[in-house]
């Protein structure tokens, strides 16, 4: 389980969890679950397009074609959501961007007629889905994601929690939104090959939604989110390796479980709350 190709998997999976946890905290804080679902899901079209151009195992400029395709579609989808969302309803913009990307993906898929197992592992993830030469591009993308999140930390917090105060302080809501969607797109590109396009967002929102129930402090919550995400991914990889079942199954179900435990804990705490008045309203609840 810890030798040969699996070393690559463990490194990749850990990086995936670090990035998904960090970005996921803000996804939950901003209520951007739909965008976090749409960008990875839609980027499937890019992977299908790359497979049509260079074949399912082909490479573009030394990076595997899948990663390049995912990157192009994820960034395109993020910009599309931001652009359409400026003139119309946000959830409608997200839904339409998603279906357009998937429609293109279907077209590419039917033209290339690739064999189905490759598509299946792209949709639901595969333990050994990452070739070792992709580790460096993944690390670069992951570092860019975490770096951008650190840089955007204050404006993101402000515009997520107190939008009006943020606007008054000169935080441009729309620019922050676009920047944030681009971070989600980068995170998507690096995490999808391991977890798959369909369950990637589960890894983003499950741990973050759970962590929010245990702490009110945003920094503690981010650390807790990352810790839960790493744990979830490690367990998923190990169990998936042993049972040969798809990794997406374990990620999706444990994401919901973490949230369920968090909700139960909150309910328990409310019921047994000592009336000391010392418990401040959680910051995130203001949203």
């Amino acid at each position: 389980m810890f030798s040969g190709i699996m070393t690559t998997t463990w490194i990749a999976a850990t990086m995936v969890a670090l990035v998904a946890g960090t970005v996921g905290f803000f996804v939950v804080l901003r209520g951007a679950a739909f965008a976090a679902h749409a960008v990875p899901h839609g980027s499937f079209g890019g992977a299908a397009g790359a497979a049509l151009l260079v074949g399912i195992d082909g490479s573009i400029l030394g990076v595997s074609g899948t990663i390049v395709g995912l990157l192009v579609f994820a960034v395109g989808g993020a910009l599309g959501i931001a652009w359409l969302g400026r003139r119309g309803r946000h959830d409608v913009a997200t839904a339409l961007s998603l279906v357009v990307m998937l429609g293109l993906g279907l077209l590419f898929l039917s033209l290339s007629q690739d064999y189905a197992p490759a598509i299946y592992s792209l949709l639901f993830g595969e333990v050994t889905g990452v070739p070792s030469y992709d580790l460096i591009p993944m690390a670069v993308l992951g570092a860019a994601c975490i770096g951008a999140t650190v840089l955007l930390y204050r404006p993101l917090m402000l515009s997520s929690v107190l939008r009006e105060v943020g606007e008054a302080r000169g935080v441009r809501g729309h620019r922050v939104e676009t920047g944030f969607l681009l971070v989600v797109a980068l995170a998507t590109t690096m995490t999808v090959p391991v977890v798959g396009v369909l369950l990637m967002f589960s890894l983003m929102i499950g741990p973050a939604a759970g962590a929010r129930c245990f702490t009110d402090n945003p920094r503690t919550a981010i650390l807790l989110t990352v810790a839960i995400a790493v744990l979830v991914v490690w367990i998923a990889v190990a169990v998936s390796y042993l049972t040969n079942w798809p990794i997406g199954f374990f990620v999706g179900v444990s994401g919901a479980l973490v949230y369920g435990v968090g909700r139960a804990w909150t309910a328990h705490r409310v019921r047994h709350a000592i009336p000391d008045g010392g418990r401040a309203e959680p910051v995130a609840e203001l949203a």
Partner: protein, 304 residues
């Protein structure tokens, strides 16, 4: 005349049974999704609309494993998921999206497992693509009665609650003040949505289901503010998009690469998106015309 018609409609278009079934099934689904989807857009539940269709894939996979009709698998899971989303009982839009996302994640996780079991059990390797993406040409004549009945159920719920649904969609507080049971209406609506979306997902695929539930109603709402008229416009846009898509897909058989044909879902999605952009342009043109007219009136009053 007939030569130019022949160039538009490929040979045998009107005589083909799969085309008839696709046109009829697609039109029924377009009408239902147009009516139900209008409220989805008004209530900002696009994510729920998408999620119910996609979660249905779990049911499709289970039905494939059990060897029954996928339609009922889709339906059962979609209604169950809708109930769970509503039972989690979150009213704030952000938290509601989160609950929807987690239900969707768990559902897709199960879909991954069942599809895996499908492929290992029967080596039908095309299962994931069929279940998740579907095709309009997979609609068969024998499915039409089921489609009609389920559409009627979904439409009946919406018609029965029309006024209360409209009020609670536009302002939940106002509706509650006037004695509308907002929670009950919310649950009833999610059931109607689940039926409509799973019907669409099972017959024409999850991608098209989302496109038809969101696209035509959103376009219609940009063109008119009257809800009754918007339902009509959304249904017409939906039908035109589907029929145009079927026609193009049929003709694409003669496009490169020869002999494969392009997927019908791609064309329908492209049509829906084009209608959305077009309706936005029309709305902007109308708005600027109105502004100019008002400016002219002001100038007339000032000049006279």
């Amino acid at each position: 005349m007939s030569a130019s018609l022949g160039a538009i409609f490929g040979p045998g278009f009107f005589g083909s049974a799969p085309v008839h079934a696709a046109l009829a099934g697609g039109a029924i689904v377009a009408v239902v999704t147009g009516a139900v989807g209008l409220f989805t857009v008004l209530r900002s539940q696009a994510f729920a609309g998408h999620a119910l269709g996609e979660v249905g894939a779990t049911g499709g996979a289970v039905a494939l494993l059990a060897g029954t009709s996928p339609l009922y698998g889709y339906l059962g899971i979609a209604i169950a998921a809708g109930a769970v989303i509503e039972l989690l009982g979150v009213q704030r839009p952000r938290a509601r999206d989160l609950a929807t996302g987690l239900v969707l994640g768990a559902g897709l996780g199960l879909a991954a497992l069942f599809l895996y079991l499908d492929t290992t059990a029967s080596s039908t390797t095309g299962a994931p693509v069929t279940v998740l993406f579907g095709s309009l040409f997979a609609v068969s004549q024998s499915m039409l009665p089921e489609i009609v009945v389920l559409s009627a159920v979904s439409l009946a719920i919406v018609v029965a609650c029309y006024r209360m649904l409209l009020l609670s969609s536009l302002s939940a507080d106002l509706a509650a003040a006037r004695g509308v049971p907002v929670r009950v209406i919310g649950v009833a609506y999610l059931v109607a949505l689940a039926v409509a979306v799973s019907l669409a997902a099972a017959t024409i695929g999850a991608v098209l289901a989302t496109a038809l539930v969101i696209g035509p109603p959103a376009s219609a709402l940009r063109l008119t503010k009257r809800p009754g008229l918007a339902v009509l416009v959304a249904s017409v846009i939906g039908i035109v998009a589907v029929w145009l898509g079927v026609l193009l897909a049929y003709d694409s058989f003669y496009w490169p690469p020869a002999g494969t044909g392009w997927p019908v879902s791609f064309f329908v999605v492209a049509d829906v998106f084009a209608f959305y952009l077009l309706s936005g342009a029309v709305a902007r043109l109308r708005q600027s015309a109105r502004r100019q007219r008002r400016a002219r009136e002001v100038a007339d009053v000032a000049g006279g």
